[in-house]
Amino acid sequence: MTKNIVLAQGNGGEENGELISKIFYKHFKNEILEKSEDAAIIDGGRLAFTTDSFTVSPIFFDGGDIGKLSICGTCNDLAMMGAKPTYMTCAVIVEEGFAVADLEKIVRSMKKELDINGAMIVCGDTKVVPRGSVDKIFINTTGVGVVQKRGISSNCVTQADTIIISNQIGKHGATIFANREGMEFSSALQSDCTSLWPLVEKLLDEGIQITAMRDATRGGVAAVLNEWAKQSKVCIEVNEEALPVSDEVRGICEILGFEAYNLANEGTFVLAVKSEDANKALEVLQGFEEGHYAAIIAEVTHQYDGRVVLLSAWGSKRFMDLPTGELLPRIC
């Protein structure tokens, strides 16, 4: 590991994992933490508990803002453990000089998203720091959820499962790149930032046998599938053509040399469901606007345990690896 923290260690990929295991896990080590799930399962399996900090730049982007993101992000992590979001905290670090009107706009969009999840903020903290100490505003939210369906875990994906993606991939990451300074794309692209609890609730109500769920945030779909392949000791074979990618995201990936499956999502999740329920799960997801492009993308085998393989439409194979380093454009 490097002597000083580098940006690549926050990428959701290999370096990020190394930092977490060598510093945080080393000292905080305990059974619950080591399960490394989206949310910790506590109180004998009754509750799910998680936290997330939000530092996105720009703070207002196409399809959302840092406020909406701060609720979706934490609630989605709870939802991925089959838990209904309930009580939340909100801690804000805001830079001197920040417009109060913008702060209120952010808080208003947090409230809207809380309502969608049926959750509420029950305590919080506000810090104002001198100009330059943070980039405008950072938000942390912590949430507790009540587990509706026990046993959902990324450690038990098997050959009896089929892998589904809930929507088109890479939209949040591509939107943030397109909105950054220096890029002047004009497109209809919007972040997929959305609350997933309503979709999960419906899947559970319909009795779909869900083995694992994970929202494909930093590191994208590739990071989720690689974690599952490793944690469950299986090979996940992805049909490349089946991955739903919008034309806008493909375009941005083409220009910058990215893969859509490495880009972050904020309202798109990967599911492993028992194969006999796969079509029913698709039907449920496609009934939602946020699940319109849901698709079966992969099957589980033992061909290369611990690895994710991409199958091309012309019969060749390659590994779908974890992203490494910062996402930087290739130069030519």
């Binding site: 290999e14 375009g251 590994f319 910062e326 454009p329 130069i331």
Partner: protein, 381 residues
């Protein structure tokens, strides 16, 4: 009529049916040929395409790829990365460079490490972005660490052109532009004493795509004429590369050694004359440029002409820049890989001590390097 979509520009070149058709055509031609052919794709962009789309898996075993040195980030020697590092440490300097150059390790670390320690290092999408940064930071010196082959050289020249015409006082250049034909010659001739023991195994070249758009295919004439090695200039899409391979095998079957262009939609024999004139106006050849993994290659680098020395960071910071030679890592076999004598997985440190997150040698640095492409996409043949 609806306007042209971006995907219209590439969808056809990734059509599974077309790729499979070429697979059949190549198999048929290769059968007639009845011997092994070693094809070097010079450019890292082609290495990336071959690995990403798994093209080698579609070809008969008699067709072997030698992954060439055409990745400007990979070949940047430690000495030059150290220059960038030292420049980034100077007071009042903002160092700009392109994309994944930020990750290349020098002897003190990469530019990414320099940035983590407080240096102002930024990557830009276009050298022209320097203009805005210079305007916003009038009390800073903006140094553009210029890298790349013939493809990116005109952009550096265009920036200097604007800097001079507008009388901008705070943009400077550290030039690391390199040229393709010279290193191709070097791979065949191996003049450097460091590598004199090598022979080469190159039967044919796939010529670079974007480089050739600028320089024209004329720069490769010497290879079929003088060395008897066919060159087919190819685009970067999988269909392009498959067609180029087909064209190469056909040349062998017909007993020809020609310079051909597969990438006709963008490449001409003459190339972009305006860009060439711009390069000629601002740049001249340096006698030797060191390539990571290859050693010194004669006439393969460019520098600013003397009359533009006032913009040359290498001249302005001469006193602080290090000039000692640094050897490549002892265990690294990039030199052998680039000459076709070894495959990445034959290297003793491949995937263990040498990984994309901590590269020892040039080929592991960028996804366009052979080792990084093997590591990333695996070799599932």
């Amino acid at each position: 009529m609806s306007s042209l979509q971006l995907k219209d520009l590439y969808d056809g070149f990734r059509d599974p049916d077309v790729i499979k058709s070429f697979q059949k055509l190549i198999a048929r031609e290769a059968e007639k040929l009845n011997r092994t052919v070693n094809i070097m794709e010079v450019c890292g962009g082609h290495t990336h395409t071959i690995m990403k789309y798994g093209l080698a898996q579609l070809l008969p075993s008699t067709i072997n790829f030698i992954h060439g040195p055409g990745c400007p980030v990979c070949i940047m020697p430690k000495e030059r990365v150290d220059h960038a590092y030292v420049l980034s440490q100077q007071s009042d300097v903002i160092l700009l460079t392109l994309g994944d150059m930020i990750k290349v390790p020098g002897s003190h670390g990469s530019l990414q490490d320099a940035r983590a320690k407080g240096a102002d290092v930024r990557f830009v999408y276009s050298p022209m972005d320097a203009l805005k940064i210079a305007e916003e930071n009038p009390d800073k010196k903006i140094i553009f660490f210029a890298i790349g082959f013939e493809t990116t050289t005109p952009m550096s020249a265009a920036l200097l052109d604007v800097v001079i015409k507008r009388g901008i006082k705070n943009i400077f250049f550290h030039i690391n532009h390199v040229t393709v034909p010279e290193v191709m010659k070097e791979l065949i001739d191996s003049r450097d004493e460091h590598v004199n023991s090598y022979d080469h195994r190159i039967d044919a070249f796939i010529g670079p795509a974007h480089v050739s758009v600028i320089s024209g295919s004329k720069i490769y004439e010497i290879f079929p004429k003088h060395y008897g090695i066919p060159v087919v200039v190819s685009g970067f899409e999988p269909v392009d590369v498959m067609e180029a391979i087909y064209m190469i095998i056909k040349q062998f079957n017909e007993g020809r050694s020609d310079l051909e262009i597969q990438y006709k939609r963008l490449v001409t024999h003459e190339g972009n004359l305006k860009a060439q004139a711009l390069i000629e106006h601002y740049f001249e050849k340096v006698d030797l440029f060191k390539w990571r993994g290859m050693g010194n290659v004669p006439n393969s680098g460019l520098k600013l002409r003397e009359e533009f020395a006032a913009f040359d960071a290498e001249v302005l910071y001469k006193e602080v820049l290090p000039y000692e030679e640094i050897d490549d890592h002892k265990l690294c076999i990039c030199g052998d890989i680039l000459r076709g004598f070894a495959k990445p997985q034959e290297c003793s440190v491949f995937g263990t001590a040498c990984k994309p997150s901590s590269p020892l040698g040039s080929c592991m640095v960028s996804s366009e390097g052979a080792c990084a492409a093997y590591y990333k996409y695996g070799n599932l043949l």
